[in-house]
């Protein structure tokens, strides 16, 4: 699993490097100063997923410390996210274990890491068109359960993990004084696994459910709102038109220095 995550991360980094170098020559933006930001962001992610034959909805509130560099190298805006979230995957059934397990235990907490890059490509008057990509990964903490009612003592353990990678085009409007609305149209890939193990005396088993997000296309609306000097407020709402249960929203506050 870790190997797969690293591979995916490398792929996205390669896309990042290749596209940014290619786009650098095309960029026709006015020179901007390099700005640094530090802040906090909360997200709520509700994502329709398939766990092999099962369909369910993953819900995950998250909170992040955010560090952002704007106009790095005159080319790209980079943001790093380090946070904590929970993931609720009720209804997942582990039927391949000797004793089937029906997970109904609610959210599992765990660290979430993220990386986001924006490449402004083309500016016309107050509009800026660019590319955006982000990658988030969640590592749920293990949770142990005592299995009761058996003639021998037993316990089960679950551990969820998932990653999400998105890319697309953004359009930013900078014609207003304090508010810069933006829209993002792109694709989002979600994958992960939910692992359960059980052990009752010498009877044991392990099963990993592969998770796959439904609804690749995503549409985000948001705005950078300057509250006071150095402080900006960034609400954002994302919908996945192909999946009615997939919805994400977030609010961020950034301090520039």
């Amino acid at each position: 699993m870790l190997k797969k995550k690293i591979t995916n991360l490398l792929i996205w980094l390669a896309i990042f490097i290749l596209t940014s170098s290619g786009l650098f020559a095309q960029r026709s933006l006015q020179a901007k100063n390099q700005n640094w930001y530090l802040g906090f962001q909360t997200n709520y992610e509700s994502r329709g997923i398939k766990a092999e034959a099962q369909k369910t909805t993953l819900s995950s509130p998250q909170g992040f410390l955010t560090f952002k560099v704007q106009n790095l190298g005159g080319t790209v805006d980079l943001a790093f996210y380090l946070g904590y979230g929970t993931t609720k995957l009720n209804g997942i059934m582990f039927n391949h274990l000797p004793i089937s397990l029906d997970y109904q235990a609610g959210g599992r907490p765990g660290p979430v890491f993220g990386l986001k890059a924006d490449w402004p490509v083309f500016s016309f008057k107050d509009l800026t068109l660019g590319l955006t990509a982000d990658f988030f990964s969640y590592f749920g903490q293990k949770k142990k359960f005592n299995l009761e009612g058996f003639t021998e003592a037993g316990e089960a353990e679950v551990k969820p993990a998932w990653s999400q990678a998105s890319s697309g085009l953004f359009l930013l409007y900078e014609g207003l004084d304090k508010v810069q609305p933006f829209v993002v149209l792109g694709t989002s890939f979600f994958w992960g696994d939910f692992k359960a193990t059980e052990k009752i005396a010498d009877l044991s088993g392990s099963e990993s459910k592969k998770l796959k997000g439904s609804g690749f296309l995503k549409l985000s609306l948001g705005a950078n709102i300057t509250l006071v000097d150095h402080f900006s407020f960034i609400p954002q709402l994302t919908v996945y038109p192909a999946s009615k249960t997939s919805l994400a929203g977030g609010i961020g506050i950034l301090y520039s220095f």
Binding site: S46, G48, K55, T56, T57, G91, M93, F94, N95, H96, P98, I99, S100, L101, D102, Y103, Q104, A105, G106, F145, L147, G149, F150, T151, E152, G154, A156, V158, I200, A201, D202, L203, G205, S214, S243, K244, T245
Partner: protein
Amino acid sequence: MKNKPINKIRTKSFLVAGLALLVVIGLLVGHLELLAAKTQDRNNPQKNKSLQKLPTDESLPPGSAKLQVVEMISGSGSGKKYSSEKILVKFKPQMSIQAADSILKAYEARSEKIIPKLNVHVVRVGNESSVEETLSALQKNPDVLYAEPDYKVRLCDTPNDPLFSKQYALYNPGGVLQIPGSPSGTARADIKATSAWDYNKGSENVLVAVIDTGVDYTHPDLKNKVISKGKDFANNDDDAYDDFYHGTHVSGIIAAETNNAEGVAGLAWNCKILPIKVITAQGEGDYDWVVQALMWAADFEQNGLKVSVINMSLGGSDPSETMEEALKYAYEKGLVLVAASGNEHSSVLYPAAYDQYCLAVGASDYNDQVASFSNYGPEVDVVAPGVWVLSAYPLWLTLPGHLPYAYATGTSMAAPHVAGLAALIKSGKPWLTPGEIMKIIKYTADDIGDPGRDDYAGYGRINCERALKPYILK
């Protein structure tokens, strides 16, 4: 109907002298009492008092002059808790039907009907949406009072077999039981079959070999369940017809045709039976026949169907390396082996005593007490009902005016309940090894008798529901 020569005793060269004779047998004779009395006994009122009648209408308690065929709708058994197409939605009172319809339309769903007075919409979800997705979306809609799955109702899969009410082993209602002597039973001192059937009723791809006296494959509750005439090692031919009665009774417990409005219910509704005869019409058999039967069953294949479970309601007092090797062979080929512990209230018989390969099964009763006759020892794994168990009885032995069913008692009747459970587990999870299935059966039992595993009840009385039902982590 075929009647076989009775005293066809064969001498087997390779058996050691100490094992040469005879297997079995206390099992077959000891505590087993048949209800089908001989005709001459019917004229002896005193004797009739101790004999049990076949479960005809006349034996029913007052007030239930006839057996009733209760029309029951069988549940799906798929384990699906709710409809995959419909949900129930209630909108806030101020919402008009048109407004509700337009909200549903936005989710590609449509209202099929409104339940009068409750004003609850029965909503069919869109083809491109799942119930879960639509529910989740509607539950977030501020105009929706509530939206919930359209859950499946069930009747605990009570089969419509008319004699089911007399099968306390499968469902024990407690109180006065409709079995010989009309004893008082403890409610739910049973193997929890009815609730287990919600999760699995067995697969046609799971074949249970019954190494016994053969099977009456013409019996109305077995004729569609027996896949072939099997193998007769006692008479050295390919026709394992039952010229005793025992194997027919055992087979009925495992997999009598169920929900067919006839006779009794079997534990593994849809599983199939392969008869193998190793006991003569006199109730005798040799170890070598059992050994050959084990090897034959382990290698059996017909149209891709292989044996998954073997039931052996038989045993002998002496160990045998040959038998142990045969058990090992079958076990390593993936077969679950189940054997009766014996009825002498002494040490566990072989093959049941080969603990590594065999589940040794003792007998319990309608009050979850270990039967007084049940053999005991460290090899006992579990117990199952083995006192006055009703099952199929060969047609050729059935007296005129009687039904082809009989009560019998013994660990011979307990073992097939466990074999049936093994077949149900194998049906749902064919990838499990025999060792894993044996452990599931042991660790999901209801501990009866002394707390913890003991030498009389083993781990306890089997609990089919716990073995099959998903454990909820919460």
